[in-house]
Subunit: 753 residues, 2 copies
């Protein structure tokens, strides 16, 4: 945990501000200033270009394919990875023959602002040319949160000491290069003066890009670009505004179908001015903040920083994914960089789903629908692993397994159990039984079949378990009876049995349909329950759960004695070395104590927390939040606060020193989870919500809202008391500090125990 802040941005409760440009932070800023509307994502790169830049502009779901060397059966031989798509910010400016390039020209008064209430990024500075002219430039950009194929760029020119002309070239282009592979994967398909359509080489995906410009000019472009060149006449003391309204359309179609849809979208955007779109953008974000803002008021003077950090997390989550499409999932870095190949991991269900369940349940449903729509691929993957049912991928953009490390792709089943958990959790929080009958049950059948076929039986005890697996703790591979895998398997099997044994009663028609579709046999659900009931979960008499068979007999290592220079261990230790001590990467046992919280006693939580905490090095961003939440539950507020630590400003202060590669999007979700489950003590694994607010001493106030079964519930926590306010919907029953209470129109105030 020896991570320290590297502060650069100026604190503001609603904005992220960079004042003066420091080239050393060029790429960090690009990541932090990323914008997205779930469909389009763009890093905060300079419109006109800059040498040290990852010019990343992405369309969600666009990827390229790559063949891997064939090795053994079940090991993936084809992977896919996110590539940059259309660059809609392509701009070059020339004044008196001098091209704008902030690495080469003289400029002053540089400021860049991400406005989280407007959903915009602006940048302004004064350009002083060699010819003695001073031109103030303001760049504005945003990706449209309502019409997802739309993006806007505005450049405002203000000549400070001259009148004259500036040359501008502006356009859309498919010439961006995938940084890791050094290749542009696009081939031109069709173009007009305003538009260009291009196709990826191997995956054959097509994207249409076009723009309308507020100025007339001469068409320019090539196979992969379309745009215009114009001379803009500037008058001293007056501002001139150049607007670009871009369409980037990726809807799965190709050829004429895509082109015609793109042209139609372009015509439609002609009816909306940039100012109108900007107004709608503000409205969208106002609604977001109304439902899901978190206000904090620390006592220690870090108020603005912390407030900014928490809002930045919420802003990034909401712009990365908001349920716009069931074809999208959430990449580990969202749409802010190419690291992790744009892949979604089990982070989606493990880290992100709670945020959406309580702020945007429709988005939570869409995330589960992504899994439903990729069920066939998960079934194929199970077949490749010589198993039945469905095995969800460790890493994916499109539903296929894309992880090229067999030791992860073949041995980790947390994506599959996370989907089952997600269905269960979604149903509990939303009460949406239709989803379970319509979609969840089918996934559960296939997940349960996988979990049954993959289970093995201990010949000595007769208990079931998973042999040759890797839990979320990736520092122990090919282990037997990993407690996380076993327990999550047990609960998944038992939930699947519950659902499939109840469905014939509650919805016989749907049950009959499902039986036909899946070939579900009589007795099959009962067989899942049998395995669930006999699933091994070895523990000591005191309740200390052994992470896997033999874990307690592994050589001990004092993780605090490892020099900080040896982190991350994957870079500094021989690969095999991380696997042979009792050091863990993240806490498998604590993780399911958190997920199925009400199933375990405080004593069990305490003994396991105390045993595993000192053995954990937290090389997963999920890890500190789980510790923080359990510590809070065990009233260890100092530890809880310590583990919360940098969570909210992970990227703003570049704690991991790799924000330049993109934001830690799924980690960001854990900051929200940490606050709500940790400090408000929310538990959502029972029939009604439970709360146990415990405000860390460093905060004077914490206020946030939750969406719950059509209600909006606001919590205002202070040191001595917490007030629950029902801002929308009917009264709700909740257990607060162990007592059942009704939160009605008059609200409820409870003292901190």
């Amino acid at each position: 945990m020896a991570k320290v802040a590297d502060p650069y941005f100026i604190a503001d409760p609603w904005k992220v501000i960079e004042r003066g440009f420091n080239p050393a932070y060029a790429r960090v800023s690009e990541s932090v200033f990323s914008l997205s509307n779930e469909t389009l994502g763009v890093r905060g790169y300079f419109d006109e270009g800059y040498p040290d830049s990852l010019r990343g502009s992405y369309s969600n779901g666009v990827y390229e394919l790559e063949d891997l060397p064939r090795s053994y059966r079940g090991i993936v031989d084809k992977t896919h990875f996110m590539i940059p798509a259309a660059d809609w910010l392509l701009t070059s400016l020339t004044l008196d023959g001098e091209a704008l390039d902030l690495s080469a020209v003289r400029f002053t008064d540089f400021e860049r602002v991400l406005d989280m209430r407007a959903g915009t990024l602006t940048r302004n500075f004064v350009w002083h040319t060699k010819s003695g002219k001073s031109l103030k430039l303001t760049f504005l950009r945003f990706t449209d949160m309502r019409c997802r194929e739309r993006a806007y760029q505005r450049i405002v020119f203000e000549p400070l000491n001259f009148s004259g002309t500036v040359e501008i070239t502006s356009g859309v282009a498919f010439n961006l290069v995938h940084e890791g592979r050094g290749i542009c994967f696009w081939q031109g398909v069709r173009r007009s003066d305003a538009a260009v359509a291009a196709r990826t080489r191997a995956s054959g995906q097509e994207v249409y890009a076009a723009a309308l410009y507020s100025a007339a000019g001469e068409p320019v472009g090539g196979e992969l670009t379309a745009g215009l060149r114009a001379s803009l006449t500037l008058s001293q003391g007056e501002t001139l505004t150049f607007d670009k309204r871009a369409i980037i359309l990726f809807d799965g179609s190709t050829g004429d179908v895509l082109w015609d849809a793109g042209e139609a979208a372009l015509r439609a955007t002609a009816g909306v001015t940039l100012d109108q779109a900007l107004e709608e953008q503000r409205t969208y974000w106002a609604e977001h903040w109304r439902v899901s803002d978190i206000e904090v008021d620390p006592a220690d003077g870090t108020g603005i920083e912390e407030q900014q950090g928490i809002r930045f997390c919420s802003f990034q989550m909401a712009q990365t994914y908001n349920g716009g499409s069931v074809r999208h999932n959430i990449g580990a870095k969202g749409l802010t960089g190419e690291a992790y190949n744009g892949h979604a991991f089990w982070d989606t269900e493990a880290c992100c789903l709670p945020f959406y369940l309580f702020t945007n349940p429709a988005a939570a449903k869409s995330l589960l629908m992504f899994r439903y729509n990729t069920l066939e691929q998960a079934k194929n993957r199970a077949k490749m692993l010589d198993c039945e049912g469905a095995c969800y991928p460790v890493a994916t953009l499109n539903g296929d397994e894309a992880c090229n490390l067999w030791q992860h792709a073949s041995l980790q089943f947390q994506p599959s159990t996370a989907v089952a958990y997600g269905i269960w959790h979604y149903a509990l929080v939303t009460g949406d039984k239709g989803f379970v009958a319509g979609y969840g049950a089918e996934m559960l059948i296939e997940i349960a079949r996988f979990l049954k076929s993959r289970a093995g039986q201990d010949p000595q005890t007769g208990e079931y378990g998973y042999f040759g697996v890797m839990g979320p703790d990736e520092f122990h591979m090919m282990v037997h009876n990993n407690a996380y895998t076993n327990y999550m398997g047990k609960r998944s099997l038992s939930y699947a049995a519950d659902v499939l044994l109840e469905l014939p009663v509650s919805n016989p028609a749907r049950y009959a349909e499902l039986k036909k579709k899946t070939g579900l046999k009589d007795g099959e659900a009962e067989s899942w329950r049998l395995i669930a009931d006999k699933m091994a979960l070895p523990a000591t008499e005191e309740g200390l759960i052994e992470q896997h068979d033999g874990y307690f007999r592994l050589p001990h290592i004092d993780v605090h004695a490892i020099p900080v220079t040896e982190f991350p261990l994957y870079d500094h230790w021989s690969y095999d070395r991380i696997y042979r001590t009792d050091m863990i990467k993240q806490p498998d046992v604590l993780m399911f104590l958190y997920l199925y919280n009400s199933s375990f006693t405080p004593e069990v939580k305490k003994i396991n927390y105390e045993f595993y905490e000192p053995r954990t090095i937290h090389e997963s961003s999920l890890s500190p939040a789980i510790h923080s939440i359990l510590a809070a539950e065990l009233s260890m507020m100092e530890e809880a606060t310590g583990f919360f630590g940098y969570a909210t400003r992970l990227d703003l202060d570049n704690y991991n020193r790799n924000t330049r590669e993109g934001l830690h999007t799924t980690s960001i979700a854990m900051a929200w989870v940490n606050i709500v489950y940790g400090f408000a003590g929310l538990r959502s694994d029972g029939d009604c919500l439970r709360f146990a607010p415990r405000l860390p001493s460093r905060w004077k106030k914490l206020r946030f809202s939750l969406t719950y079964q059509g209600r909006i519930l606001e919590l205002t926590m202070a040191q001595t008391e917490t007030t629950f306010t029902l801002r929308q919907g009917s009264p709700v029953e909740a257990v607060i500090h162990g007592e059942t209470q009704i939160i009605g129109p008059d609200g409820l105030t409870v003292p901190t125990p």
Copy 2:
């Protein structure tokens, strides 16, 4: 064990004969008819070419390099693999405009003969041209067992019904293509009319090839070839002989140095006729058979087949490796094919070393010197694994780790413990103490350092062990306290301590030198003994040793219930699936019970044999021999004979159906070990030899010789008695069926108990 013979060749006690050519066996025959003199190896391909052919002509130690994708620390990022070198058999023949190609022309009376007393391959047939001519052709080839850079080709022409001319082109060439990669890796460096030198692309190795011809002709060739074209005048009823004497020189030098050495070697060969060389070849092999022949006389009528098979094994071993150079090791397929990349594995020490210890101790020493000369590379490898000392490679041609599967290269230490065992065994059998002081001790220091630094300690018992390893049983990966690794580590550490604590007494000067060279510290050897003494070897009260922690609790699988169509499992089962049951690939526990035979009681051997045998699927060729040897010791002669089974005719009858890729050279060694350790009951892990002859009922007689500390000892086993004859050297003490006996000039006959 559902492997069945696919007989093709004609049985003969001293020859392998193919009568009539079956194209379906073209590649199998190429492998079986391979010749080698350790330095040069050549498959039995047709001199004039054939469409379905692996035209493999190899120079021992010639390889190419390949970069691998960089992944994690300690995982190799560069590998090397054997490539074909100079083709010295390049020949084309034309008669009346018709080119000789056995896939296209008409021919009769085809016969091919490998003569194991002469060390030659001959082929003859009658070619019937479209023009009506019949020409009898006899091809002879051999690689010179004394002058290793020399190889010979003879073609005898006998026109049966005509006189006339035949056109011949003959030469040496570097144009052979590596079959797997489809690439010729050679670039020409220098050439003359008779010679060409070429260099590999990445490894930069150079080879010189040249030939002298018995006929004059016009020089032909190109960048990579040199040879001649000649018209040979044939007279009906007379034979004409065309001889080629080739030099293929690979001595590590390059440029002018290599060229001059090659030219000198070519001049030297001019003084020796092919007939003279052939005579010397016969003499060499006569001496080989005198010292190391095995004669069998089965009672069941399989006499000639079995005799042929046993001699074929001995012949292949002796021609693949005979101690000609300490730069050579023994590839899994010798020099007979490109599968396994020409790599040597721990098979060298585990399978082959006993054969050499008792037939050619100088060669055994050379094999250990190969390890000594690559000690620095093993030390570098240990560093890459964050360990001290030396870790010998899993797969190598040059001493560097070439295995590109991290799960093997990083987790298997049997090569290192096999080297320690080899030093110990070599010293025991040869009594060569100078080797131990001069070379062995230094290797032992570094191996012990590795084994110490890699060991871990069980926090519950305080015992040492190896965590996160894979034993020879490659069906269980990342296990803890693998019994084989622990026990071999224990014995290696303890032997290293013995040697290093004794050396100051017996050879203080050498000890001082070693201390300086290796930085050996006071107390270091004692620390190895400490770990050896506290090494874990968990077993039940009855002595059943657990293969690794938790093995007894793995789900059971009935290996006999697996359909034979699912073998080999690597091709038919998902990769991860082989790792999660109690099925084992080869018997780790039985292996060290065999290696350190006298350290275990018959009861321990019995209980472990009976437990592990039914769990073993023998996907390693080492496995059946170990079972056969232990079964014989336990007087289970039926089992012993059953496991011996196909060993001697593994390749002659293509039992594994992959002989086409090359011979199973190191497996062949186990046939010898099986006979000598199994049926003669030889044990060589004590202060004197022990024997317990037990002739299987299917044999009437078994006779073989052993070289032992300057003596030649002959055993003649019959059903009722065994006769020991001292054919050379001073009397020797041996324990026979548990009784100490002296074998003197009069020999000794003991009854079978």
